[in-house]
């Protein structure tokens, strides 16, 4: 018999039929009355239990529904809160990345300015004598006159004339015995030696000058300083050698000389007096 048909046909408990059959065969033997009333009381108790069961189930379900609804609304509000937080953070991310882009372009600008300034600083340092330079140039060596006595010594003025003559003939950097002649260096007599940049130098003095060595010596010979140097050395008998050098290294001047002595406002305002 198919399952569904079987369930449908036996939907009534078969016990009812059995008991009814038994009662029919044994009819007349049973005293009708007392037994039935007792069983009716049991029925009422079972029905009360059924009602109780239904009520309990309904109450429990509605109670659970309240709890479920509350937890649902709590969850929804938490979701909303978190979504607000997330959108705030998205906004923050956008703001920060905008800021980041701006900072990056500012940084790139700054880097360009820095490299410009560095290039300018290097050029200025080479010109002013505070950066090492190399290139073709000339070397002029001058010594004290061998038998000249005190007047045969090379004086600071003599060296200064030589250096000025070289500047005038187009030298871009000059050093004496490895001491760079900067804008603030000047040869000074100190007893029998000459001090440049605070360093004592002794004869022979080797003056190195950077410049076009095809024309530098010729131009030097034509300047006033060059002519008087020529006259001086030949008169006093100072040994002089002049050489063209293709690769000349001239070191930087001492950093200690690089302090501010005078300044002028670039905007044209009147400079403040330094007290």
């Amino acid at each position: 018999m198919p399952l569904l048909t079987r369930i449908t046909q036996q939907s009534l408990d078969e016990d009812y039929l059995h008991v009814a059959d038994r009662r029919r065969t044994a009819s007349g033997d049973r005293p009708a009355g007392g037994g039935r009333r007792r069983l009716t009381a049991v029925t009422v108790v079972a029905v009360v239990a059924f009602g109780l069961l239904v009520a309990i189930a309904a109450v429990q379900t509605s109670r659970n529904a309240t709890v479920r609804e509350e937890s649902r609304s709590v969850l929804i509000s938490r979701i909303d809160d978190q979504q607000r937080v997330v959108s705030q953070q998205h906004q923050q991310i956008a703001d920060l990345s905008d800021q980041n882009t701006a900072e990056e372009s500012a940084f790139a600008d700054m880097g360009r300015q820095l490299s410009q300034a560095t290039r300018r600083e290097q050029a200025l340092a080479q010109t002013a004598g505070f950066g090492p330079v190399a290139g073709p140039g000339v070397q002029i060596s001058v010594d004290d006159a061998p038998n000249g006595g005190r007047s045969g010594l090379v004086q600071d003025d003599d060296l200064a004339g030589l250096i000025n003559g070289l500047w005038a003939s187009g030298a871009t950097a000059v050093s004496v015995n490895g001491q760079r002649v900067t804008a603030r260096s000047a040869p000074r007599n100190s007893g029998t030696v000459i001090r440049i940049n605070g360093v004592s130098l002794s004869a022979p003095y080797v003056v190195s000058a950077l410049g076009d060595n095809r024309t530098l010596l010729a131009k030097f010979a034509e300047t006033g300083s060059g002519r008087s140097f020529q006259l001086l050395t030949s008169t006093l008998g100072m040994p002089v050698t002049m050489d063209n050098v293709d690769h000349l290294q001239i070191p930087a001047g001492p950093v200690g000389l690089m302090d501010l002595r005078s300044a002028r406002s670039a905007t044209g305002q009147k400079p403040q007096e330094d007290h």
């Binding site: 009534l12 039929l17 069983l39 108790v45 009360v48 239904v54 379900t61």
Partner: protein, 110 residues
Amino acid sequence: MIAALGLVVGIVLGLIFRPEVPVGLEPYLPIAVVAALDAVFGALRAFLDGIFDDKVFVVSFVSNVVIAAGIVYLGDKLGVGGQLSTGVIVVLGIRIFSNVAAIRRHIFHA
């Protein structure tokens, strides 16, 4: 008449006292209610057929509730609680429907 009164008294008692169901028994309550419903409708039909017997009703009521809850409990322990309670509800539901149909035939003589 007395039975209907008993049903009302039971429902009212349940609503008044609102007893707390232990958490462990909570999943078996709905299935027990459906089983009890089946027993009640079976009893109503037997009553209308004229073959109602109180002892049979009480025994079928108690055994329906206990067996339905027991099947679901067993299913929970085996990990197929959901499927087993679905099966129990299907069978009980079909029985309830056919019983109700028989009751309807009695009431409307159709």
